[in-house]
């Protein structure tokens, strides 16, 4: 069942979703009243970069019409987003646009208010994080993403808590990926530098060899020379087949490296396109990338 669904799903749901895109919510209002006179810049972009056309055929994560927030406060409205198998997707947008909220919603950390989130053919929008992690998604939060009082190795062990045995081979693989973690395996994570902590956090998230890795601002708080290194490491994780959904303040660098980007503003997504084309887009540059 799960073997068939993901293959069938894109073919069926993409036209649906595209149909939704225009008539639903604010977009419908704009379509009804808006003129061609450039009053709504997002219509221009939508027209030339048909949003969902770029989505790969084998969709891994599919978010449709997602409404979510915290308690009574709604942050996201009608968010649509896809991540293909092995794809590298970033979400960019101004502060407070709800970028992190999209990720947290995928991981079951927000209050669900409507829409669907499907992962590998399974609906996950009403699941708890500890169930979602079983499906093959791991999440690296932005801040405080390591257990300070635990050693590096213990941090990695916690990443595989849901397994019965500590997967030694996987720990070795992560030590190979981040050699400094092997050297410091008995050191308390709280005593390490920002860049090393970020490696511990990623290593922990990779312990279950997830199909999709959610990264919230992986470059936050890193020294500039470490930022490039961090992006290189993310590239390599992606090259090894793990799909990545990333939120990043450092939007230009992120867009340059990713396969595809989403621009999010006011809790709604406005455009999606390849990273390069978003970078080249005049509106996107002016509104979200600081010219």
């Amino acid at each position: 069942m799960s073997a068939e669904d993901p293959e069938d799903a894109p073919a069926e749901t993409i036209p649906d979703a595209e149909g939704d895109e225009v008539p639903s919510g604010d977009a419908a209002a704009e379509a009804g009243t808006g003129s061609d006179a450039g009053g709504a810049p997002d219509r221009d972009v939508d027209a030339e970069s048909d949003p969902l056309a770029k989505v790969p055929d084998d969709v891994l994560l599919q978010v449709r019409d997602l409404d979510a927030g915290y308690g009574d406060l709604q942050i996201l409205t009608d968010v649509d987003l896809d991540v293909g198998d092995g794809e590298y997707v970033t979400i960019v947008g101004p502060n407070g646009a709800g970028k992190s909220t999209v990720m947290k919603s995928v991981f079951g950390l927000t209050t669900y208010m409507g829409g669907t989130i499907t992962f590998d053919g399974t609906e996950i929008h009403e699941r708890a994080p500890e169930e979602i992690i079983h499906e093959g998604i791991s999440y690296v939060p932005q801040n405080e993403n390591v257990f300070d009082g635990l050693t590096v190795r213990e941090n990695l062990e916690m990443g595989a808590y849901i397994l019965d045995e500590v997967p030694e081979a996987q720990i070795e693989e992560i030590y190979d990926r981040f050699p400094v973690l092997r050297e410091r395996s008995d050191q308390k994570a709280g005593t390490m530098s920002g860049g090393q902590r970020q490696m511990v956090a990623m290593g922990r998230a990779l312990m279950l060899d997830p199909d999709l890795l959610l990264l919230d601002e992986p470059s936050a708080g890193l020294a500039p020379d470490l930022v490039q290194d961090m992006f290189d490491r993310i590239d390599r994780i992606n090259d090894d087949g793990t799909a990545i959904l990333m939120v990043e303040q450092n939007a230009k660098a992120a867009l340059r490296r990713c396969d595809r980007g989403y621009v999010l503003a006011n809790g709604e997504n406005s455009y999606t396109d390849t990273g390069d084309r978003l970078l080249a887009d005049e509106d996107v540059r002016q509104q979200f990338l600081g010219g």
Partner: protein, 377 residues
Amino acid sequence: MGVNESLQRGRAAVRGKPFLFLAGVAGLVLLADLLARLAGVEVPITAERSFGGSLSALRFGGLVWNGIVVGLIFGLAGIGLSMTYSILNFANFSHGDLVTTGAFTGWGAALLIAGWGGSSAGHLLSVRAGSGAGPNAIGASVVQSPLAILVGVIVAAVATVLVTVAADRIVYKPMRDRGGIPLLIASIGVALALRYSIQFVYGARNRGVTATEGVGVPFYGVSIDLHEITLVIVAVGLMLGTHFLLQRTKLGKAMRAMADNKDLALVTGIPTERVVTATWVLGGALAGVSGYLYVLERGTIEFNLGWFLLLFIFAAVILGGIGSIYGAIAGGLVIGLVHEVSLIWISSDFNAAAAFVIMILVLLYRPEGLFGGVTTA
């Protein structure tokens, strides 16, 4: 030049932390006095007061030993208090009455086995609530009925765990998201409910429990109390066991992880609810056993014994750095030692105050506590 500099640094230190300086001076004077007493040197100051005096090494050793014994009780009970604080973020005021719960349930079982046939089961199970056989007739001691004492430890742990987990399910769990203050107040309610339930079931009378025959054993000129030895062995064993659990087992590491960062534990896939329950189980068991051991050492039982212990347990945990189990143990030992050794200078009416003064002094110098910032690791 050098002398001048150090004098100046000294003056700056005195001006910066005058209180600490005074405490340091007082500490040095007390230490000198203690040494003088041990050496038998006495320098009269006034008619009634004198510096030094005589203190036999034996009496000093006895005070230190007593300090270690009560300190281990504070520390053992404090582990659970510290852990529930760090994992659930609230100060559990019902912890003292969990200690009492363990004392009564454990001793009920111990007396039942030790005195089987000699007295009515109701009298024994209620820990001598009514009239009936006395402690020595029942014969509950490690000499006369070691098995009964051992079963008592286990019953104390199990019964207290049941009460602890029930309190969590009924009271704490439904309001866990509302923050530390409502939980703290609720725990005071639980404490009162527990204490008066215990009083209702077991009565309010303070009575003897343990048999004393053969418990004191002469050993190279000193009398060794086998009940105290038992207490020290069981308490240290449980502390080592807790250390092993936290450092070596998956569950223990998950407890430390949760104490560190609950949100991250949740997104890591740690079953947080199960870890919380495990924390209550561990904390409750240690509290129950510490109450049982406390009665083993002092020989008498009373419905509000845990409530009186609670202040010392809190002092131990805060002194050690709340959230750290090693801090709780170290803090317990410091409080226990000060409580007993201070008897050299002050009467037993005030020695509890001395323990709290030391706590305040340590916190002035290290507000985070002795092991603060080390977390449960």
